[in-house]
C-alpha cells in the first residue's frame, strides 16, 4: 500500500475515533453501545498499519481480490451494528412497556385514593 494512502487512512480513522470520543464526552452516546464502533475503528487501524494482513487474510479464506475482503468486512460490521441497534431497541421497548403499565397501575391507585379522600 502506498504511503500516501496509508497516511490518508490513518487521518480518516483518527477523525472517526475522535468523533466517537467527542460524542461520548458530550454524553451523546452511551459507552455500552459504542463498543461495536470502537471495534470497527480498531479493525481499520490495524489494517492501516499492517496492510499485508488483508492480503494474508483474503488468501486464507479464499478471496482472490483483497479489496473484496474489505467489502465483506464492511458488510459484516454494518450487520453487527444494525443487530446491536435492534437489540437496544428491543430492550427499550420492554422498558417502555413496563413503565407504561406501571404508570397505568399507579394512576388507578391515585384515582381510587382521591375518590376515597373525597368521599371520606
Amino acid at each position: 500500500m502506498p504511503l500516501i494512502l496509508q497516511i490518508f487512512l490513518l487521518v480518516g480513522v483518527l477523525c472517526y475515533l475522535s468523533i466517537i470520543l467527542l460524542m461520548l464526552k458530550r454524553k451523546r452516546l452511551n459507552l455500552q453501545y459504542t463498543l461495536v464502533w470502537f471495534f470497527s475503528a480498531a479493525f481499520l487501524l490495524i489494517i492501516t498499519f499492517f496492510p499485508e494482513l488483508v492480503k494474508t487474510l483474503s488468501k486464507a479464506i479464499g478471496i482472490s481480490l483483497p479489496s473484496n475482503f474489505i467489502f465483506i468486512a464492511v458488510g459484516v460490521f454494518t450487520l453487527l451494528i444494525v443487530l446491536s441497534l435492534t437489540s437496544v431497541i428491543s430492550k427499550l421497548t420492554n422498558q417502555t412497556y413496563r413503565l407504561t403499565q406501571n404508570q397505568a397501575l399507579l394512576e388507578a391507585r391515585i384515582r381510587h385514593m382521591e375518590e376515597h379522600v373525597d368521599n371520606g
Binding site: T93, T96, Y97, T100, Q101, N102, A104, L105, E107, A108
Partner: protein, 237 residues
C-alpha cells in the same frame, strides 16, 4: 374461603361496545370484580369509562393486546386475585360462560382454561380462512407441547394464581394467545378447554386483518417454536 375472581377486559377503541359489556357484568355478575384496560384508545373509550365510573386502567400509549392484557395480570397480582379471566371488550364473549371457565381452576384440577367455540360448534364460528389459520396453529401447538386444543386463538380464558404471577412477568407483546398456551405448558401448568359460544363482534374490528394474516402465521409459529425452545421462563414466584 372466598375465591377472588378478576375479569380483565382489554379495550382498544371499543367505545361502541364497552358500556354494554361492562354494564352486563355489573348487573348480572356482581360476584366477579372486573377491570377495563384502556389500551391508548383514540376514540372516547376512556371518556365512557370515566363517565360511568367503571373500574379502569388507562394506558397512556397503545401497547397492543399483549401489553394491555398483561397490565390486567399485573393488577390481578397486585390485588391478590385467585383467578383472572380475560374477556374481550367488543362483546364477542358471553359472560354466562365465565362460571364454566373458572370451575376447573376452583376444583384445582388445572391452571388454565380456554373457552373454545369449536368444541360444540355452536354460536359464531368465524370465517373459513381464519379457521384454517387456527387449524394450522393447532398443529404447531400440538407439535410443540403435545396439547390437543381446538381454539388456540381464543381470548376468552381463565388463569390460576400461579399463572397470574407468571403472566405478569412474561407475556407476549403481540398476538399473545397461542404463545401464552405454550408458555403455560412448558412451565408445567396444565391447559384445558371448555365449550363456549361466541358472538360476532358488535362493534370495532379484529386486530388481525387479511393483509396481516401471512405475517401473523409466520410470526406466531416462530414465537411458538422459540418459547418451546426457551423452556422454563425465569420468573419470581
Amino acid at each position: 374461603m372466598v375465591i377472588k375472581v378478576l375479569i380483565i377486559i382489554p379495550a382498544y377503541n371499543e367505545a361502541g361496545s364497552i358500556k354494554a359489556v361492562v354494564d352486563t357484568l355489573i348487573q348480572n355478575y356482581p360476584q366477579y370484580d372486573y377491570v377495563v384496560v384502556n389500551d391508548g384508545s383514540t376514540d372516547n373509550t376512556l371518556q365512557i369509562c370515566r363517565d360511568c365510573q367503571f373500574n379502569y386502567l388507562d394506558l397512556p400509549i397503545n401497547l397492543g393486546i399483549g401489553g394491555a392484557v398483561q397490565t390486567g395480570y399485573l393488577y390481578a397480582k397486585e390485588n391478590n386475585y385467585d383467578i383472572a379471566v380475560q374477556l374481550d371488550g367488543d362483546g364477542q364473549h358471553n359472560p354466562e360462560y365465565i362460571e364454566r371457565l373458572i370451575a376447573p381452576i376452583i376444583k384445582q384440577e388445572v391452571h388454565m382454561v380456554i373457552g373454545s367455540r369449536f368444541l360444540n360448534k355452536k354460536g359464531f364460528q368465524t370465517s373459513f380462512l381464519r379457521r384454517m389459520g387456527i387449524l394450522f396453529l393447532k398443529v404447531v401447538i400440538r407439535l410443540c407441547c403435545g396439547l390437543r386444543l381446538s381454539d388456540v386463538t381464543s381470548g376468552f380464558r381463565a388463569a390460576s394464581k400461579p399463572l397470574i404471577v407468571l403472566f405478569s412477568q412474561n407475556y407476549a407483546l403481540d398476538y399473545p394467545e397461542p404463545e401464552a398456551i405454550v408458555t403455560s405448558s412448558v412451565n408445567g401448568f396444565s391447559v384445558v378447554e371448555v365449550p363456549v359460544e361466541m358472538n360476532a363482534r358488535t362493534a370495532g374490528k379484529s386486530t388481525i386483518t387479511a393483509g396481516h394474516s401471512v405475517y401473523y402465521m409466520i410470526k406466531v409459529s416462530l414465537a411458538l417454536l422459540i418459547s418451546r425452545l426457551n423452556g422454563k421462563a425465569h420468573w419470581r414466584k
